[in-house]
Amino acid sequence: MNLLEKLDAAAAARKAMLPDGVGAFGIPIEEVYSATEAKIGERRVLLLGTNNYLGLTFAPECIEAAHQALNHEGTGTTGSRMANGSYYGHRALEQEFADFYQCSAGIVFTTGYQANLGTISGLVGRGDTVLIDGDSHASIYDGCILSGAEIIRFKHNDMADMEKRLRRLGNRTETTLIIVEGIYSMLGDQAPLAEIVRLKNKYNCTLLLDEAHSLGVLGETGQGLVEKTGLLNEVDFITGTFSKSLCSIGGFCVSNHSQLDQLRFVSHPYIFTASPSPATIASTRAALALLKNGDNLRKQLWKNCSQLYERLKTAGYELGPEPGPVIAAILDNPKQALQIWQSLLEHNIYVNLILPPAAPDGKSLVRCSVNAAHTTEQMTYVGDTFAKLYQQILEH
């Protein structure tokens, strides 16, 4: 089989599972009306498949800031910060992230994916070990592979399994980086951070927490799981993305370790890529200010999360273990998942369809992302539609 034939074989396997035009890759979005609605095909559809947790995609403050930056600094930086220098906005945003997390320093990356790639591959290398949760995001896996460190996985959120693996590492724990996420993107559950911190300290490791889905969502000022649990000072490195609650694109790492700065000189995903555009940085800075003071947004978000989670649960769906902005209906059978996903779209509701092997444990997921801009009426409509489909499709 030559290279192109191998791709043909992979495409055939994919099409056997998913007909063309179905699933996230096939969805053409023709027009975006608001943080909660868009035109898909000929339909006006309710969006429950985005990570727009605070509903800020059309926040006037962010749009205005981006306009200003475009007018004053142009469309792009056209290069890496190593070669082309750091704009005022890059430096200001790094300071703002450091201040937000009461850390000594922060680094901005061009995407959230690169924040994990760059931080992990900068912190560990050949001969070191990474101990990661089995449900980790691909950016964490890829960062570990890029680093050359030995990758050991523990069962998702299973602290007994994690401790067993720490014990097996013996005196290598000193060069071990533990990596966990604030909220996991598949089932929406949170990491048991207190226990993770206890083990990290007992075995003398370093801890990296990815707050991608929890930034803006958890904690009084939206820092994420570190704030909700009061464990900010126990986490060595925090990464996150601008692409979810901050509604732009980019990523960051903050830390109190002075060694963070060294990443700028060794981390390829930081050095060998163009820096974020001025408009992106400007809208992110405006969004971060809104996020910090977004108490009302978080209240509305959590009200929506609880409403939909409870409704789906009473309708009979198997869900992740706790309510949150990611609510996934877990199905044994990919055909049923596809049928529910398609029927939801026919009812003008867009959610995410996740099939094996992307979904954990061979299951299939119909996953909703709730946001603060969704109204109670919209949540009621979505919940009622899910309930109707449960009876029509799953009780047969």
Partner: protein, 84 residues
């Protein structure tokens, strides 16, 4: 490499794989884990976890990427075991 250690591992792997696989053919050291055995990836992952517990080791997933045959898997486990 400690020979008896390797033999013990090979025996255990063959036994467990024979009971898991649906195919008629018996498992030998040369059997290719991915292309010759009709075991789904979840069962294989569970088997790996069971082996890890049996020998009280962790098998790094990047080391697993180089493993094709039962012999290679037994060799990997034996190497990890002996460095503990």
């Amino acid at each position: 490499m400690n020979e008896s250690n390797y033999d013990e591992i090979m025996q255990l792997l063959c036994d467990r794989l024979n009971s898991l696989t649906n195919s008629e053919a018996t498992v030998t050291p040369e059997t290719n884990l991915i292309s010759e055995l009709s075991i789904d990836s979840i069962k294989l992952l569970n088997l790996i976890m069971e082996i890890e517990d049996t020998f009280d080791i962790s098998i790094p997933i990047n080391a697993l990427a180089d493993v094709q045959t039962v012999d290679e898997l037994a060799g990997l486990i034996s190497r990890i075991k002996s460095t503990h």
